[in-house]
Structure formats: structure tokens, C-alpha cells
Subunit: 253 residues, 3 copies
Amino acid sequence: VDPELRVHDITHNIPKFQPWAASQVLAYAASCWPAGTVFVSVVDPGVGTSRRSVAALTKSGQFVITPDNGTLTHIAQTPGLGAVRQIDEAVNRRPGTEMFHTFHGRDVYAYTAARLAAGIIDFAGVGPEFPVDEVVRFHVPSPVVEKGAARGVVVSANTHFGTVVTNVSAAGFDAAGFTLGCRVAVEITHGGQAVCAGEMPYVRTFGEVAVGAPLVYTGSTGDIFVSCNQGSFLDKYGISGAGPDWQIQFRLR
Amino acid sequence: VDPELRVHDITHNIPKFQPWAASQVLAYAASCWPAGTVFVSVVDPGVGTSRRSVAALTKSGQFVITPDNGTLTHIAQTPGLGAVRQIDEAVNRRPGTEMFHTFHGRDVYAYTAARLAAGIIDFAGVGPEFPVDEVVRFHVPSPVVEKGAARGVVVSANTHFGTVVTNVSAAGFDAAGFTLGCRVAVEITHGGQAVCAGEMPYVRTFGEVAVGAPLVYTGSTGDIFVSCNQGSFLDKYGISGAGPDWQIQFRLR
Amino acid sequence: VDPELRVHDITHNIPKFQPWAASQVLAYAASCWPAGTVFVSVVDPGVGTSRRSVAALTKSGQFVITPDNGTLTHIAQTPGLGAVRQIDEAVNRRPGTEMFHTFHGRDVYAYTAARLAAGIIDFAGVGPEFPVDEVVRFHVPSPVVEKGAARGVVVSANTHFGTVVTNVSAAGFDAAGFTLGCRVAVEITHGGQAVCAGEMPYVRTFGEVAVGAPLVYTGSTGDIFVSCNQGSFLDKYGISGAGPDWQIQFRLR
């Protein structure tokens, strides 16, 4: 489309077939890029079926080209969606790919993103607008904070370091009465079934506990994370996924 | 050689020691790049032995720097080879690396490619030309299409999604009488030994079968692929490789 | 910081929590980059604790931004360190990240490197200088070469190809009386305990031994390596790490 475009790979390590994980990583990564950036986010188990192909304009002036299958959930929360359009494949499909139904990432999404980034089309040229509130989103229960306790969702299970990322903000955690150095009882459930329970300290960083020991801390998103120092919390406690059906509860001991 | 060159990593995930796989991926990837692109393709189990080091000029005006061990097989079919030269290591070897015999990818291939891309040498400057028909190629049996049946080769076993890629074209498949919605008996052999047999529908895309179920479809190359919906066909049916000794047969049920 | 900066990923495959491995790979990679390059090297199990965050200026005019936990060991040997400064986080920390203690790679190191590379700060702007000999280094025993024998350290256990990289130079090996074609007894110990022993030829390259068979050869760093032809020496002989406590001995048979 335009050899002068600068193309960056953010990640190819999203867990397969998990739009939730794609949504969470996109929102985290996008916050570091300038307005005008065009993101292509394709985790698309329904490729070639009736899900919409869309381009979203966020309230921070970025674009996201993606299947409409939940991958806009987190970016719709922050910074929010300004407008969304359905990709008109009669115009925005790489010529000669009309017979392919299993690789829209290549034939439609990357192609449309490149044309938008190169200024060959503007946002209106993507296709017809539709109401933002029709965008498919996962239901994300709001975190609950009360005196001496907090509940939220496991938003990401980082398989590289084995970290649990939650949606309980550090500010909320502190407001609940947890203070650095306190002991915290942690329980994680999947679909309502207990998966793990443990007790660990609330500290600033890994090196404040023994190698292999678990800890609760303010992670790199400003939310509360759970890890082991130089070990995998996921492996040690049998956490195999993330999303709205993975809930986490903290109680002050 | 030239800090202004634009260098792109296409993949570091070719299965180790498999020139066949390198050849197949190169031909697929190259088709998306412009004329004048210089590719470096190094899967080189014979590094430092008597295999030639070569630069090929394709009929589409691209260059490939590679060991001559079969990695040009697919690109020699399409778009075809226009000319080929043996790298003269007296000129085209990074100075100070003469004592190294195990990393020609770094010392000879990347260095020669960079000099060619930067215009420091032209194609003739690579080294002496030799006949294109001396280029080492794997024998690829042509696919056979007849009424109600098709036979071909497993050209790639995509380990990320667990997909089987064949060299039976969608056009040939349709000519044999397979139509969307029909049932297909699939058999795969390795060295003549049966590896798997199954029956599955011929559909447009994954979402038309149940999660985990197998399907036959037109893949992203225009050839017939075999997959499971959100699962690995390779794992489910024990397919551990690809190449001319992996044959696949389709019969209309 | 500056959208015009050119950013290259050298690797994200350093073994977790191993500053030794980071140090060895950095020194190897840095030798291929020009003066003025700014490297960010973050293997940082002590993130947020009292280890220093530093910027080093090497004797070849490159910069390294890193935690001071041993990751400068090899580059301090070659090309050597010219000067080193402690990062002043009051100036050189991404605004709005003051409450984060577990991702200095993002909040301090990448940010400082970008500002230095973009010319927003100069080297003095990093923070206060401190003596080069205070830089944390692993003790690396010098290789010992004598008639018919050589001893050194396993400096890297390359998990992709399963190769053992040593710090015994090819020149020293040859001086000890090993000649191409000779047989070599190889012993590896970990913490003084025998891990493996074998006998293999000293050859130029892989293809001179049978597939799967071990060999000793001059590797791509100019030092002596141990591998199997198209197989993993590490897996075959149970080598699970590298560093000063992994010693290797060669004896002429």
C-alpha cells in the first residue's frame, strides 16, 4: 500500500482464540502511542462468519481495525470510543482476495489499516458508521472495595512471568485499608469454583519476599497484581486463564 | 554496511534444519514484497561444507541470498528464477570472519545481502553465474485431480494453529467435483505409511463446524487446507512434519 | 519521547532472572553496532530494591542503560567501560510513574535511553558519575591452557540449537596442541559436581560428524563451542545452565 509506512509489531503472543486477552493487551499498549496511530488487532475465531469488521476512532484520536467480537471492550472503557464504522469490503479488501474467508487479518484489516494510515482513505472512507453502543463488549464486573476487602476480576494471566493482573486499583486497595506490610488472604475462583487460596504480604516489589514466595503489589498498570518472586504464580496455584469468569478476592488478615 | 538500510524480520520460526520449510515460507512471504527486495534465507544444516552459497534473481525482480540446499524449490516454481550466481567469498565475506565455518548466515549471507541492497555491489558483483538448472530443488510431485478425488503433498504443517497446508489448488479441487457442504474423506501418509484418516466437511471457514471439529477449506494461499476449528489438526491426528514424503488424498463421500 | 528514533529489538529471549546471560548476549550483540548506539538491557530480578540504575559509556563509544546487577560484566572486559553514571530518577523517570516499583525497564531505563538517544539529555544529564570499579561484576575465572588440556567456563547455553559456548579461545585451544581431526575428552561440572563427560572430534563444522553426534569446533565468537550435529548437546548431556559455576575441561586423547 505504501512502503514508507512505519509498521511495528506489538505482540504475536496473545493466547489463541481469546478476544478478551486481545482487548486487554490492546488497551494497555495503546496508551503508550500517539494520537493518529492505527492499530490492527486480530484475534478472530469467527473469521468469515457474520461478526462485523470495524474501524473504531477512540476518544484519544487513535484508530483500531478489528473484528467486532469483544476486542474493543477495554479501550471502550478507557479512553472510550468516539465513533465506529463497519468496513466496506467492496472497497477495503486487498484486490484478488475475494475468494478467501479465513485470513481477514491479512486481506481486510491490515489492508484497511494501511490505507487509512497512508491517507488513501479517511475515516469516513472505511465504510458506514453505526452506533457505538452496538459494539460487542464483554461484561466486566466493576471491582468492589469495602473495609478490609476487595473483589475484582483476573484481567490477564501473564504467562511469561506467571503474574495475575487484576482490575482492583491500587487507590481502591489502599482505601479498603490494606497498607504496605500487611498480610492479605487471596482467593481466586473460576466460574464460581475455588481454584486457589493463599496468604501473602502486600509489598512494594518482588525482592521484599523470598525467592519463590507470593506477593501482592501495585503493578505496572496502577492496579493490584499477584506474583511469585522469580517464579510463576500461575503455575504454582494452577491459574489457567483470565477474563470475567475468573474472580479474585482480597481480605485483610 | 549501511545504517540506512531498512531491515525486516519475516520469521525466526522455521523448523530447525528443514530447508523444505524455509523454501515454502520464503515463496509465500516474498509474494507480498516489491521488486528489488533482497531476502536472506538461512536454514543451513550443511554450513561450512561443500554446498554452494548463492544469490538468485527471480523473474519478479527480487533477490534471494541463501545456501543452495533446496531453499529455492518453491520460488523456482513461482515466480521462477531468472539467474543465479555463486557468492565469491573472497570478496563477499565480512572481513575478519575467515576462520569461522559455522555461521555463514552472519558472515556471508547477511553481509552480501546488505551490500547488494545498499548498491555497494550489483548482482554481477556477487560472484560467477551458473546455470539455473543446477540449483538444488526438492522433487515436488504435481497434485493429481480426477473425478471425485485429489492427491497432493503436505507443503506445510503450521505449528502455531495446527493447520495442514496442501498443494492442491482450490480450482483443481472444485474441478474434481467437490462442492461446498460436501463430505470429504481425508488420508495422510508419511513415506507411504498411513498416518491419519478422517471424514469432514468442505466449508468456507472455521465457524461452520463445531469447536474442535475438522474441516477442509480454501486456505490463504488459494490451496486446500485442513484444520480443526479452534484446535490443532496436527496434534489431533499426529501429523509431525511436511514435505514431499507427506502425501494427502481427498475423496468425495 | 521522540517518534523519529529508530528502535530495534535485539532479543526478548534472555533466560528469566539471569543477569549473567543478559551480560553475555549484550557484549556479543553490541560488537555489531556503531558507536553512539544506546542499548537498554533489563534483566532485573531486584527491580525496586537498592541496586543502582546506571548508564555506562563503553570504550567503544556506546551507551548501556541497565540495572547494576552484573549485566555489564562482559562488556566491561571488552571493549571496557569508560565511565558510568547513576540514573537520577528525579529527572529521568517517565512522569506519572512515581508509584511504580516493578517496571523500571519501562519507566526508567527505556525512558532514559530514549532521552539520551534523542539528545534531550547528554551523558552528564543521566545523573552523578561514580567510579567504574564499583560496577557489579560476576567473577569470571580466566581460561587455563596447558599442553594437551584447556579449562574454561560455559558462558552460554544456547537453548535454541542446544550449543555450549565457552570462554576458551580458539587460539589458546590450538596453542594447547589440539589440531583439527584430533579426539577430545570433554567434561562439564556444575558447582564442582560432574554433569557430563564425553569424547568427540575437533572439527571445522557440524557436517563432518554424523547427525546427532557431538563435536568440538571454533564457534562464531572465536571461542571453542561444543554441539551435536542437528541435535541439542544441552538436552543430550543434561546441561541446564551457564555461568561461572559451570566449568568445562578439554583433554587431548
